[in-house]
Symmetry: C2
Subunit: 426 residues, 2 copies
């Protein structure tokens, strides 16, 4: 590579340093040569790269699963590059023209603005606002006329579109694909043309759409199309399914400190390491030490989990909140005389309202009481405790979180798991 | 059908009369019930139907092949209905966005206007200007924004598009279909939405596109989508291939009277009857008489052809021109002492310039002379005649048409067929 020859030794080391950081945790980089070329060129010229991430305008509740790409973006920022966040408001405002699918709801302009504000508030907990630019893709897409849309459509072929996994599957099984659906990847790809993105980040499920951006950039005359950096999909608390709000297996970055701490403590040891790698800013060498310590038994998994939980609370609520959450956790879960093993009970969110449940209803559901009147008696007698704290009002609605310990009398204990059906492990 | 019950007896007869005329020569009517419903409703309310035909903005040279649909439109006008002619200028100005295909050239606004004027001049030879409205589809299409285009695209599925013959074939053989190509049927179909067409006419090769118009009308909330009236594709003078300018097997409606007459006289007996049925205004009963007369030998095919030729010339150049053309033809072909059978010689248009050829070059090409000097001698000796008229200047460039008789001396005769290669019969 010609560029490479023009680098000083220090610059070459800088390229290697950047590549090492960028590669951490990435599932795939396509094509790797383009990433190298882009980084090399940036180091040589001192010009920051433009690193793009598309955001779903309809879902501003950010959880730890989303932060996998956000942490990667933050790494780019720490390396001096610039982040382009695209709110797909054009797509979002249009919704699904056929009206047949429930998956995309039509958003009003106000919805979009409110969601964007919510995104900023949450994302700036990880990203550097100085190196972040928000864009609405309606800015360029809504101005396009039929002629320009046809020009865009002419850049892609039907066969290529039908290679996308979900399209291929639906076409193969005679499930209708409506023509406008082909425009979602085209619109996302065109965003990269409009913003001249150098790199686009996404989960591995975004591979097709991100490579479409590269294709379109070439079709619109770019010499070097963008590189795709594809991050793994993070499993949720259950350890099997993708973390998502609808499955309830998530840690939200707006969760309260105690909730966040408790949820983190509930993950498996293996998942904990993946969470460390993909969703914290822990440097590579410290991550390695941690892995070794755990493998050799020098570090207790519980302590590592406490550290992870504190990292999260610190990141999203600050240092003080992290200390308090740890103290709360210790007070509730370690200093109380709970039995060594407590059975888990799954409580469906359907039983709750706004995260709360009537205490007697809970006791009956858990089988701690055979009737509401028996449950009320237990409460009145002072036998019922939530996380060790006595409940005295039999009509109170209590806020319940996964990991909470519910107790009735001396022998009845239950560790609460708030979850839809269909999950086997927790 | 409720509507039917509301008709008087006279109105019922009128519906039958209209249907009989409309059905003449049609290859298919889809769906027939819709046509009946539309006609019935029109007869009941006295409201004319809107009958649509799309025109290719790039090809304003109208030939007899095109007049199949034009005569059908004229029948509708004579029945009191209105014709909508759509010049697809939006499609035409856009051309082929990929730039890979040569089939669609980008047209300037001036091209489109000039072509439209040319269309009017030619089409009003058949259509009633009072009952004809010209429309440019850019009027509504060019105003559409991305959102509206997506709405349109959402009305069709990929699978449905891939059912169209040419798309199916290309997809099946891994030839690329660019996405914008799917918009051609959608645009044509949307024209029917914009103009609220009741009926659309076209050749059988337009079946998919016309039915797309019906689908889109339903998708945009029309109670009764348009009916498709599909006319047969007319074979050219060769009797096998579709009549087209590029194949040279056509009778142009701007051809000179003598050329038109001569070309018509050259068609086969079978084709002549098809031309009568599809491209003249001859009433059904007269057509039947003609067929019977020919079948029983009461009418000589040559006389029937002369009548057809006169019909054409009369239609496109007036009654007087028709009489003159017949006289010219008789003078040349019947009153001269030509042999009973004259061999045909095919002359490629490539040998000609502006329809003309140097006389000696022609003689050599026909094999009537072995060299230019021998050809010159024949001319100077007065042996060379075109349609019986002596040629005396050996350097003259003569205008040549299909059907012309070239003669050298007493025994050398040739009937000229101007044609590209690739045609076996004439």
């Amino acid at each position: 590579m010609d560029l490479w020859e023009q680098l000083s030794e220090a610059q070459k080391r800088e390229v290697h340093r950047q590549l090492d950081i960028i590669r951490r945790g990435a599932a795939d980089i396509i094509p790797e040569e383009t990433l190298i070329q882009k980084i090399t060129s940036s180091v040589l010229t001192g010009k920051p790269l433009k690193v793009k991430l598309g955001l779903d305008p309809s879902a501003p509740d950010v959880h730890v699963g989303h932060t996998v790409v956000l942490h990667k973006l933050r790494q780019f920022q720490d390396l001096g590059h610039e982040v382009q966040l695209i709110i797909g408001d054009f797509t979002g405002r249009i919704g699904d023209p056929t009206g047949k699918s429930e998956t995309r709801k039509q958003l009003s302009e106000e919805d979009v603005k409110r969601n964007a504000a919510s995104y900023k508030k949450q994302l700036y907990k990880i990203l550097d606002p100085e190196k972040t630019k928000f864009h609405f893709n309606s800015t360029w897409l809504q101005k396009m006329n039929f002629e320009q849309v046809l020009l865009l459509a002419g850049k892609a072929t039907v066969a290529r579109m039908l290679e996308r996994d979900d399209f291929a599957k639906r076409y193969g099984t005679n499930h209708p694909i409506h023509l406008h659906e082909f425009f979602y990847p085209l619109m996302q790809g065109y965003d990269s043309v409009a913003l001249e993105s150098d790199i686009e980040l996404g989960g591995t499920d975004q591979t097709f759409n991100i490579l479409m951006g590269r294709t379109l950039q070439h079709a619109y005359g770019f010499e070097h199309g963008q590189a795709a950096i594809l991050m793994p999909i993070l499993e949720g608390l259950d350890g099997t399914q993708k973390m998502s709000k609808s499955l309830g297996n998530y840690i939200g970055i707006d969760d309260s400190p105690n909730e966040m701490f408790g949820k983190t403590m509930s993950v498996s040891d293996e998942l904990m390491l993946k969470y460390y790698e993909l969703t914290t800013a822990l440097p590579n060498d410290e991550l390695l030490q941690l892995k070794e310590g755990l493998a050799k038994g020098k570090i207790h998994p519980r302590d590592a989990k406490i550290r992870l939980a504190k990292e999260y609370v610190c990141m999203y609520h600050g240092k003080e909140a992290a200390e308090l959450a740890e103290q709360h956790f210790s007070a509730v879960f370690r200093n109380r005389s709970f039995p060594e093993h407590i059975d888990e009970f799954r409580i469906s969110p359907n039983l709750m309202e706004d995260g709360c449940i009537q205490v007697c209803k809970l006791l009956v559901t858990l089988g701690f009481a055979s009737s509401n009147s028996e449950a009320r008696r237990s409460v009145v007698q002072g036998a019922v405790k939530l996380n060790g704290a006595r409940i005295s009002d039999p009509y109170v609605r209590i806020e319940l979180h996964s990991g909470d310990i519910m107790q009735s009398g001396k022998r009845k204990f239950a560790k609460i798991v708030i979850s839809e059906g269909g999950m086997d492990t927790y």
